[in-house]
Point group: C2
């Protein structure tokens, strides 16, 4: 029988304030069995860039990463945010190991080709080094992954944390029964976006199609759910979309094939 | 027979310019067998602190690390400097893994007690997790260690890179035949501080005492050499003090028991 692995993705916002960070660390430490954490970066990089007089350019919700911005995100995501989480987990007896994709060649990516928009130093995931990660996990080391990858040519690349979580989950599905938990600012996928309590408890791929046709699900939730089904179709056992304060996966929306 | 391990400590200055960084990466990649790199931080943290309006306080050559300065060094040493080196080594087919002391509980330290001076968030090394490091090294993963440790209570602590290199060498001497190479801005221990070519090729503990009595060796070189003999007495095979551009250990001053 294969062992269970829980992969939790949290946004960068949750680590910016001590109260939410400590709650996350407590909740994550309480998850039993093998686990892995992926964190975003978010506003703290924007704030540091502002202080340094570097303009943050966003296109379609994605940061344009020029050379100076790359330095900022490497410092904030790979340094401050990642090491705060790692040190906090160590204090809770979780043997965390902070990783960017460059570390141990964990995630190699390709610099996004310039089409209509030049996103700059942004990486699209090419390969996850699943066997090395699985080896660490089986030694009770808990990877804490920053939203940074590398291109194998010496460049760090800024990479979407949702994508890192999804690709890592798919790669590790070859070794474990993976549950992937996406945390965000809502309780789950909502039937009515104006009613925070209208969480749809479970969605299958068939139901998803119907919800989209009926206009119940729209906007940014569509790519999130497409990613979820993509992960399920690649061997991930279940995906949960839930609140950052409910990472045990017992609440929120359960996505199943 | 035990395998050989080369531990190289370089200052932060060498990674600040592309030319010296690339030379270091090439030279380190060329070292055969098991190896580990320890890097300092240096001026890049001071520069970032300046830009952010944080005053860098130094006492006896050591940075006073207040809460804001700790964030800066965590970003610069643990993020920018460490990941630049790791990505650069990956591009040279060296499977580098960047580590602070918090990662995998690699180095636990104690916050320095306040006596005459309050150094702030500065750590004195308590314990190196040698078995986990040895395990990685034997899998051909190359640790790249930033000058940061943790106290096991959730705090990252700023820690002298020479000390990290020395303590790591001592701890790993239980697993490997360790050569420890300290790189700095001179060709080695000089007989005449005004003559850069007056390198003393080899120093034993007895000779060191004589050199100090005669005034040949003085100043900051005394604690460096004391650390070297401390490492040798704890089982490290040899210590070399040399230029950052000569890290193959074939030049400089060889320190032997």
């Amino acid at each position: 029988m294969r062992e269970k692995l829980t992969i939790v993705k949290v946004g960068g916002k949750i680590v910016e304030e001590d109260a939410t960070l400590y709650k996350l660390l407590d909740d994550f430490a309480a998850i039993e069995g093998y686990k892995l954490l992926v964190h975003g970066g978010g506003r703290s990089a924007t704030k540091l860039a502002e202080k340094l007089g570097i303009e943050s350019k966003m296109v379609n919700g994605r940061r344009i990463t020029d050379a100076e911005t790359l330095k900022v995100v490497t410092m904030v995501y790979g340094g401050l945010v990642n090491k705060s989480i790692v040190a906090g987990l160590q204090a809770r007896d979780v043997n965390a190991l902070g990783l960017t994709g460059a570390d141990m060649n964990a995630i190699r990516s390709n610099k996004r080709p310039v089409k209509d928009i030049d996103y700059g130093f942004v990486g699209d995931v090419e390969q996850v080094n699943a066997s090395l990660l699985a080896d660490l996990i089986q030694k009770d080391i808990i990877p804490v992954m920053a939203p940074l990858t590398h291109d194998g040519k010496g460049n760090i690349l800024n990479t979407n944390a949702d994508t890192i979580a999804g690709e890592t989950a798919k790669a590790l599905a070859g070794f474990f029964d993976v549950t992937l938990i996406y945390c965000f600012e809502k309780k789950g996928v909502l039937r009515d976006e104006n009613d925070d309590d209208s969480v749809i408890p479970q969605i299958t791929q068939e139901e998803f199609k119907v919800y989209v046709e009926e206009g119940v699900i729209g906007g940014g939730m569509i790519p999130k759910l497409e990613n979820a089904f993509d992960a399920l179709n690649a061997g991930v056992c279940e995906v949960v979309i839930t609140l950052s304060s409910a990472i045990n996966g017992k609440f929120g929306t359960l996505i199943r094939k």
